[in-house]
Each structure stands twice: as structure tokens, then as C-alpha cells.
Amino acid sequence: MSLEVEIAFTLNGRAVSAAVPATASALTVLRERFDLAGAKLVCGEGECGACTIIVDGLSRNSCLMPAVDLAGRTVRTVEGLWGERGLDPVQQAFVDTGAVQCGYCTAGMVMQIRHALDRNPAAGEAELRRAIEGNVCRCTGYAKVIEAALAAGQRMRGGGAP
């Protein structure tokens, strides 16, 4: 068995700790130790974005990130966006616009867009398209994903539903 390392970090607003294999990816630990199955293993080499999470305010491919690097960080996953105040504006916009088909890319898309809008709530279409350049979707052709992102940005800026 490989060496295990004890790590503590903040996961979706709560302090957590776990002993994780030194070689495990953040994705594996989130899925298998914390039962957060929203982020997906799709390519395992950072080419598709389906495993995107937000770590200390930056979007990361969790499949490439060693789990031990989570130590001391603040981590958000798609599960953590749905809170007492309801769905996150990005999640709500995905639901409303029809940006979800098979949904396998959705967790990664939602996190990537949330990250882009956190940095710039006024991001326009071109900027948002670039933001999800590394997120592959085989169902939607990205049109409704971008529509959702623009609607979410408007809502986050206080513009209400477009």
C-alpha cells in the first residue's frame, strides 16, 4: 500500500480532514473519501474539464491535482454551490436555459463558469467562451451553456433574470 498523508482543508465551507494516499488525485479523494461524485473522471489528463473544482478561488483540474495539495486550502465543489438560499445563480441558469443534457460535463462547466464570473461578473460572451475552452461537452454545442453563463452573470450583478 502506498504511503498515506493526513491532510486538513476546508471543503464546501466545513473543516475536514482525511488520510489520503500520497499518490491519489484530489478528484479521487473527493469522490471516494467525501462521496462528492459531481466532479467526473473523463480524460484524466486535464483535457476535458469535467473534474473542475475551485481551490482558493482558482479553478483546477482535480484529476491532475495531488490530493495532498488540498492541505490547508479552501475547496468548493458543485455540491457546495447549492445552499440554504437555494441553487447558485449558475446552477439555476443551467436548469432554466436547458444547458443540461446528459449532464456529465455539467459539474465542471458550472464550476468553471462560477470561477469566471467570480473574477468578472460582467464577462461577455467571448470571455465566457474562452473560460470554458478546456471543458468538453458532447451534447449541447455549448450554446445553452453560454446562454446560462450570461444569464447567471446578469443575476449575480443584481440584474435579475434576463
Partner: protein, 774 residues
């Protein structure tokens, strides 16, 4: 005064997909996320050779590895093959024919132990002569892939209509062309996966990504030694399918065989590399077309010969000619037709079904060829297509009754909205002008079945519908949800009949133990067939409710309607009684109790093809036309698709969000086919098995899409709807190819229009014209 409830319809609205909230919050558990108690993991040891005799397989070291529970080879398993021609044993005994061939499989406590065990399996091979090209495989003396087919012809199809020779003699022009369409693959984000669980009676529960759960039982059972009735297929949510799961592939029986042997649940998941190498591809085809016309551009005949690289085994790819044939014979008016298709065994991986089936390939060839013919005839691309377009009422050479179609409308609207003719003339004139960036515009159209496809004895689907004491409806459908949105379409259709809200409808599906029979998700059929069945069931329930209400109110049924949870007066919407209250009265009525529980089985009015391939095999047909406007960098060959105008006859929109999503997604898939996607197979080996080297469309590369829906209102379809999902993928690629020609004068007959290929073709054309200059 009772409240007044206006009439409301969910059909035609932007309905929220029923499972979208769970998917957007990470609550959905997909098949790839599934964990059962005491579950083992499984992996497959595949061939390292493309064609070889297996001399020895030694699994002793793998079996001895701690954590390994079972290792199986062909020696441990019944030798019963699967696939369309039953030529594909799940585990190969004495010979491998492709690089993806399965030799052994391991079940162990973890995937890591499986990987280690696979490395410990020793296989000794003796290489055999190889063949990868169709024409070479047809030569006398070519390596024989399957002894029972010494000519290497796996399947052959032929269709003849009229007198092609006489038509050719009467033609003013005959245009010839050759089009080779390439290997692409589905790239489902959820890799191939199944979980098998066997109970003490030997009954099997298979958690599967299959798109045809009911027929699958019959297809897979013999290879497992179980009765099809002892097999339950459950389809958890999947990460895409797009046709890839319309056959049984070896990993599924292998997984069940391991569960039978270990008496524990077994999960088998592909790696991404394995997904590229060992899941089916789209069928590659070599087309040779000869087509004739009169001086005025009226088509006289089509004579088409195709070779399909079948690979080492036969899956649904070999049957794509059934669909290709329809496009060849029936897309535009073609009075005389000859079509021949042969699927040839080689040592390549093999093709399955893929969204658009043989029509993606056929439409590339036919619509590229139509563009060439228009130029020969001296007509513009629109006028030439309009001249030959089918009209409502046409019966095609294969017997398709095109009752309710609007190809001319699709073409005219696409041309008008895109300002096609003006741009087309201007861009053509601009070819010779200086400047590195050239612009072009192109059009293509196609015909597809839009009311199912009767390829089995039945093309039907069943529904069980019940209402509870609270006026909540449960709809149990045989249809499957795989991300395409059938769940929501069914809820909309049922809600409208029963006067309920979408959230009052629970759709239960994806389990053969509960659902009534259905053919499966293919042929753009689910909205039409499963939707019709659900709607008919809802109408039966509606009739029961209205009968009771009419009796109580002492009025005629026709005077009543169901709206927003109430029985109302049809003429003014005044509420009479809440539906839930009425249902409770019907329920708690002693010996007269009536529960609203109904069933329906819908069989569409379509026909099987006869032995000559004639038959009206779909209950509806429809067309789409796409215009692509592009900019080409003539130095790098890069094509930027700027705008697409999509015009499609959809019968009627059911879910506006869903239909737009299908068309946008279909266009993205079709653009990948046109521009960037190619599974590179060299001497039987896949050279680019990753998303780094196999490029699917990304968000910044997608053009603006302008969609027009022609709502022709199909008389048979549910609320007038037709099937819509495949046409967008089918039509777009030749529109881009035709735009490239318009921009540069360069024709690329063999997709994809990758930058290097385009740049080379432009350079070669420039060289030719320089040399030709005096």
C-alpha cells in the same frame, strides 16, 4: 363563484428538463458512479497484435496475485458469439483479428490490482498476414479474416429501381465522383461501463449504458447461458451514448461471466484510451457515384457503389447501408437508382451505430455531388436543388410515402435568411482577388426518418400510467432517457392531456423490470413513438376522469376539460371539481372503486422493408437544410465557420429548450466530423486515443447558429411532432465543404477538412493554375 382557469399547454414551451436540477447540483449518480456492496472491479486484457494466432495464454501469475478473485479466458466460457453476424466471441480462443480483441479478463478487489494482474497474464502469439484496405481484402489470395467468409465480404446489400442504363443513355451529362468518409468515434464523456449482479437463482441484473434494453436481453443471454427472461437491464444515467450502445459488445458478457464466477457484483469500466481504441466507430465508407441529368438539370439516375471497412467483426456499422440507401434513392427525385454496398472484413477495429447512422456518410457524398452537378448544369446550388426537390405526396423508389414534408421550404428559407445567392456569387468572384482570407457560403440538405424506423417486427413502445389520490401521475414508459430529453417530453404531453403541472408527473423509465417493451433509443424515434404511447395512455386516463365527472355533473363529456388540477367547463373554464377530489371519490367507492390505471402500446403505421428494400419504413419523414458561411485562411488552411443557418421541418416543437439543444449539439458533432475529428487508424492501430490528439469542437470554435423550425404538424406524431435529433449532425458537414469550394475553388472529397489538408489542396490548385498559365 368558482374560479376560471384558462387553457394552458406545456407543449411548445421551454420546459425545464426533469433531471436538470439533480445534474446541476451533482446529486445524480451515473452508472460510472455506481457502487454495490462487496463489488469487485474488472478489466480486460486485450490483444497486442492486429492479426495473430493465440498459441498460449498463461494466467497463473495473475491468479496468484493477492486481491485477484477470478481470471477468465475463452477456455472458461461458453463459445457463443455476439454481434450482428454472431461472429464476435466475447473472449477470443485461438485467434485475434483486431487490436481491440479480448483475450482474458480479471476481477479483483480494486482497479489497481486488476491493472497489475493484466500485466501478469502471458500471451504468446504467432502473427498472421494482415489486411486493412477493402479493395486489397477483396483480392484473390488476400488474408481471410473469418473462415466462413472466404471472400471477406461480411454483408452485401443491393437496390435496383428502374433502368439505369437506359437513363444514362438519355442523360445529357453524367457526373462521377469518389468520396471516402473517415473513422470518427462517439467520445462519450462517460466511458463504457457496466455492473453485473447475479442472484442465488442465477438471475442477472445488468446495469448497462445500453440504448436498447429489451432487445439486448435476447442478444446477450445466449453468451451467458441464461434465459433472456432471467435478465433484468437497468439503465442508470449515462454520460452520452449517441448510438454507441445499440449492440452488445464483448465487455458486457465478460462482466456478467465474472459476476457468475465470483458470485459477487462486478463493475467493468474502460480507461479513456481504451474507450478510443475499443468502443465502436462511425462506419467509414468509400463511395463511387455516377449520376446523370438532363441539360436543364433534371436528375435522371444515380448509380452508387460503396465499400465499407467492416473491421474484424460485425456490429451495426455493417447495416448502415439500409439508411444510406434511403438517401441515395429518395433524397431528391431520382427516377432510376442502382446502389450496391459491401462490408469487407479487415484487421481494423469495427464500427457501430452513431447518430445519423449511414446518413451522415450518404449526405456528405450526395450533397457534395449535387453541388458539383449544379455547376455542370450551370445552375446555382439553390435552383438546382429546388428543381429536383421532393414534393409532399411523392412516393420514393423505396416506397417511402413523403406525405407531409417541406424540402423546398427548408431550402428557400435557408437561402433567404442567409442572403445565400448574393453572397455565393460575390465570394465566388472573390476567389481570384488578392487576400489571404477568403470567404465562402455553402448549402446542404437531407432527408431522414422522423417517425421511427421499422427494422424489427415491431417499432412500438408501451406505457403504464396511474394517478394517485393526490392527482399525481406516474408514467412508466418503455422509452429510455439517455440525456436527450425524452423524460421531459413525456411529462409535457401527459400534463397537457391531464390538466396537471409538470411537477405532478413522475416519469419512471430505464428498467426492463418495470417498463413495457420498447425498441430503444435510435432513429430519432423516442419523442414520436414513446411520446405517442404516453399521450395515448394519458388520453385513456383523461377519458376515465371525464366520464366520472360528466356522470356526476350530468353533462356531456365534450362539455368538460381538465385544466390546472381541475375539471372545468370546456367553454368558459369555470372549475367544477378538483381532479384529486374526484379521484378519491372514484377510489373510495366500495365495490365500485375505480383507480385510474391504464396501459397503451403504440405501434406506428409503418412497414418493414420487403426483400427488395421497398417499404414505407417510417411513420413520418422530414428534411433539414443548413447553410454555412465560413472564412478560410488560404495559407494555413484553417476554416472558421462563422454562421450556420439551420432550417428543419420538426412537425411541431414539444420542448423548445430541448429541440434547440439537440440542434445546437448535433451541429457541433457534425462540425467535428467536417473539420477536426478523425480517429487515425494505421495498420489496424489507433494512433490518437486521447482528447489531446482527437479534437472535438470547443466553445470558442462554435459558430453563431440561426435556427428556423418549420412546424408542418404531422398528423400522426404526438401533438404534431416529428423526430428531430439526427438531421443536424447529418446535414452540416457537406454545407461546410461546399462553402470551402465557394471560397477557394478547392473541393475536398474526403473529410475532415483539416487545416493541413485544406492548405495543401489550395497550394496544389495554385501550382496547377500557375503551370497552366501561358
Amino acid at each position: 363563484m368558482n374560479k376560471v382557469i384558462p387553457k394552458h399547454s406545456f407543449v411548445g414551451t421551454r420546459a425545464v428538463k426533469l433531471d436538470a436540477p439533480d445534474k446541476a447540483t451533482g446529486r445524480t449518480r451515473y452508472i460510472n458512479d455506481l457502487v454495490l456492496p462487496r463489488m469487485l472491479y474488472a478489466k480486460i486484457r486485450r490483444s497486442e497484435r492486429v492479426h495473430a494466432r493465440i498459441l498460449r495464454v498463461d494466467t497463473a501469475k495473475a491468479k496468484a496475485l493477492p486481491g485477484v478473485v477470478a481470471v477468465i479466458t475463452a477456455a472458461d466460457t461458453p463459445e457463443i458469439a455476439i454481434g450482428v453476424l454472431k461472429d464476435n466471441p466475447p473472449l477470443k480462443r485461438d485467434r485475434v483479428r483486431t487490436i481491440r480483441d479480448e483475450i482474458a479478463a480479471v476481477a479483483a478487489e480494486s482497479e489497481a490490482i486488476c491493472d497489475e494482474a493484466l500485466r501478469l497474464i502471458e500471451v504468446e502469439y504467432e502473427d498472421l498476414p494482415t489486411v486493412f484496405d477493402c479493395t486489397e481484402a477483396l483480392q484473390p489470395g488476400a488474408p481471410v479474416i473469418h473462415a466462413n467468409r472466404p471472400d471477406n465480404i461480411a454483408m452485401a446489400h443491393q437496390f435496383d429501381h428502374g433502368d439505369v442504363a437506359a437513363a444514362e443513355a438519355a442523360s445529357d451529362f453524367v457526373v462521377e465522383g469518389a468520396y471516402n468518409v473517415h473513422y470518427v468515434t462517439h467520445c462519450n464523456l462517460g466511458v463504457s461501463c457496466c455492473v453485473a449482479d447475479v442472484d442465488v437463482e442465477g438471475r442477472v441484473t445488468l446495469y448497462s449504458q445500453t440504448q436498447y434494453p429489451f432487445i439486448m436481453k435476447m442478444d446477450i443471454a445466449p453468451s451467458l447461458g441464461v434465459h433472456p427472461g432471467d435478465l433484468r437491464v437497468i439503465q442508470p444515467p449515462v454520460g452520452g451514448a449517441f448510438g454507441s450502445k445499440l449492440d452488445v459488445y464483448p465487455y458486457e458478457p465478460i462482466c456478467v461471466l465474472l459476476a457468475q464466477k465470483t458470485r459477487r457484483p462486478v463493475k467493468l469500466v474502460f480507461s479513456r484510451e481504451e474507450e478510443f481504441v475499443a468502443s465502436p466507430t462511425r462506419q467509414p465508407v468509400e463511395f463511387r457515384i455516377r449520376a446523370g441529368m438532363k441539360r436543364d438539370g433534371t436528375l435522371t439516375f444515380r448509380d452508387v457503389d460503396t465499400l465499407l471497412n467492416n473491421g474484424g467483426y460485425t456490429s451495426w456499422g455493417a447495416t448502415t447501408p439500409f439508411v444510406t440507401m434511403r438517401t441515395i434513392s429518395s433524397h431528391y427525385r431520382v427516377p432510376h437508382v442502382r446502389y450496391r454496398a459491401r462490408a469487407i472484413y479487415t484487421n481494423n477495429p469495427y464500427a457501430g451505430s452513431f447518430r445519423g447512422y449511414g446518413n451522415v456518410q450518404a449526405t456528405w457524398a450526395v450533397e457534395t455531388h449535387m453541388d458539383k452537378m449544379a455547376e455542370v448544369a450551370g445552375l446555382d446550388p439553390i435552383a438546382f436543388r429546388l428543381k429536383n426537390a421532393n414534393e409532399p405526396g411523392d412516393v420514393t423508389p423505396q416506397g417511402a410515402r413523403l406525405a407531409n414534408i417541406d424540402l423546398k421550404g427548408c431550402l428557400r428559407i435557408a437561402a433567404e435568411k442567409s442572403d445565400f445567392l448574393r453572397k455565393w456569387a460575390a465570394y465566388r468572384a472573390g476567389r481570384a482577388a488578392p487576400g489571404r482570407i477568403k470567404r465562402g457560403i455553402g448549402i446542404a440538405a437531407s432527408l431522414h426518418n422522423a417517425g421511427g424506423a421499422k427494422i424489427h417486427k415491431s417499432d412500438g413502445c408501451g406505457t403504464i400510467l396511474k394517478l394517485d389520490d393526490y392527482a399525481r401521475a406516474t408514467v412508466i414508459t418503455g422509452g429510455s432517457e439517455i440525456g436527450q430529453g425524452l423524460d421531459t417530453v413525456i411529462a409535457q404531453l401527459v400534463a397537457d392531456e391531464l390538466g396537471l403541472a409538470l411537477r405532478d408527473i413522475t416519469v419512471v423509465m430505464n428498467d426492463t423490470a418495470t417498463g413495457p417493451w420498447d425498441v430503444g433509443v435510435h432513429a430519432s424515434r423516442s419523442t414520436y413513438i414513446a411520446g405517442n404511447s404516453a399521450r395515448r395512455a394519458a388520453r385513456k386516463a383523461r377519458a376515465m376522469i371525464l366520464d366520472e365527472a360528466a356522470k356526476q355533473a350530468n353533462v356531456g363529456v365534450a362539455q368538460l376539460d381538465l385544466r390546472a388540477g381541475f375539471v372545468v367547463q370546456a367553454d368558459n373554464g369555470v372549475a367544477i371539481v378538483a381532479i384529486d377530489k374526484l379521484l378519491r371519490q372514484m377510489h373510495f367507492a366500495g365495490e365500485d372503486a375505480k383507480l385510474v390505471m391504464v396501459t397503451d402500446y403504440y405501434e406506428p403505421p409503418s412497414e418493414n422493408e420487403d426483400k427488395n428494400h421497398v417499404g414505407d419504413m417510417s411513420a413520418a419523414y422530414s428534411h433539414a437544410a443548413h447553410v454555412a458561411e465560413i472564412a478560410v485562411d488560404t495559407r494555413t488552411g484553417e476554416i472558421k465557420v462563422e454562421t450556420i443557418w439551420s432550417v428543419q421541418d420538426v412537425g411541431r416543437i414539444v420542448n423548445r429548450n430541448g429541440i434547440e439543444g439537440q440542434i445546437e449539439g448535433g451541429i457541433a458533432m457534425g462540425l467535428g466530423y467536417a473539420l477536426s475529428e478523425e480517429l487515425v487508424i494505421e495498420r489496424g492501430r489507433v494512433r490518437n486515443p486521447s482528447f489531446r490528439d482527437y479534437h472535438v469542437m470547443t466553445a470558442p470554435e462554435m459558430p453563431k447558429i440561426d435556427m428556423t423550425f418549420l412546424e408542418t404538424g404531422d398528423a400522426e406524431g404526438p401533438a404534431g411532432a416529428k423526430g428531430i435529433a439526427e438531421l443536424p449532425t447529418i446535414v452540416i458537414a457537406p454545407a461546410v465543404g461546399n462553402a470551402l469550394y465557394n471560397a477557394t475553388g478547392v473541393r475536398i472529397d474526403h473529410p475532415p477538412l483539416a487545416a493541413e489538408k485544406v492548405a495543401r489542396a489550395i497550394w496544389e490548385r495554385a501550382q496547377r493554375s500557375t503551370r497552366a498559365a501561358p
